[in-house]
Symmetry: C2
């Protein structure tokens, strides 16, 4: 049960049978169909989510009209609106499945309780959060360093699995481009 989660955690800390059981008990598994919402604008983001299988996107509504995607999450990725999750403030984000997905969720009360019961998990999450900070430093660097065309090409090379699984207009949104411009870039760079 929760095979991907347990094997992911095991990469960073030593887990005995007993700890595995404790972890399994704190996470609530849910199956979602494509386009179901885990969070909607205005709600407090009550849970931290782990993607066992599938794909999620997080987005907000820009100028009251367009969806601006800020994050994707696939297998073995964590996702939440941390501000909302930590401070219990209403979130400006939607979190929605892009495909049918199997998600493990832990609400903030359980999260604190789990960290209390199993202090080893402090270490796991410290390491995961550090890696997340590293990744976001890199993302910001690319945003400042690359033109939008270069940013798009770099993304295609770095994450080819996304191109397969996520519609082009969502990738455009995530990169801060218009779908029309991505279309132009594809034409230019394919032929």
């Amino acid at each position: 049960m929760h095979a991907n989660l347990i094997s992911h955690i095991s990469k960073y800390i030593e887990l005995d049978e007993c700890s595995i059981e404790v972890i399994n008990k704190y996470f609530k598994p849910t199956d979602y169909k494509k386009k179901e919402f885990l969070l909607q604008e205005g709600q407090v983001c009550k849970s931290l989510h782990f993607v066992e299988k599938g794909c999620l996107r997080m987005y907000f509504i820009n100028n009251k009209t367009t969806e601006q995607i800020t994050q994707f999450a696939m297998e073995n990725w964590w996702i939440t609106d941390f501000f909302s999750f930590l401070d219990k403030k209403p979130s400006p984000y939607f979190i929605q499945t892009v495909e049918n997905s199997h998600i493990l969720s832990i609400d903030s009360v359980s999260y604190d309780a789990m960290l209390q019961e199993l202090p080893l998990m402090e270490r796991y999450f410290r390491i995961i959060m550090q890696r997340t900070v590293a990744a976001s430093q890199l993302r910001v660097k690319y945003m400042y360093e690359l033109s939008k065309e270069e940013f798009y090409l770099h993304f295609c090379n770095s994450f080819p699995q996304f191109i397969q699984r996520v519609p082009q207009y969502m990738i455009a949104s995530y990169l801060g481009l218009t779908p029309e411009y991505v279309s132009e870039l594809r034409k230019k760079n394919l032929s």
Copy 2:
């Protein structure tokens, strides 16, 4: 000794006298004059730095010519190139003082040793890293949501202390604007 650091950690975890001594022993204090470097491009970023007093900036060189600032750090902020620090890879960044500064640094070996000796610190850094992730989610949201003019005005309102202490062209760089455009915005929005 290390008064700001200890009081910052105490906000998140309970520290007894003994733990305080352990922490103090792991951090190396250094005074830097304005414009001294803590890290230069090509070096491995060996330490995680805490600003007791002063101001740092982190930047890289864009198109081999212009300095692109990605982060500032003032009193009670942590700064490092996490990719370089964690994976011991050469860094593309410079970390430099903007003012005379008093900095506490811990290299990665000492960091691991401290976390071993004082597992409570896993919790402190887990919490700090979570807050850092929250802040960077918010930063990316603003980058996508606001025009460059709005982004500049928002920054001025949110961090007035920066406007006092950091030259305008560095703020322009941090926000991804040209200094010329910031000049134009000031003129437009002041009068």
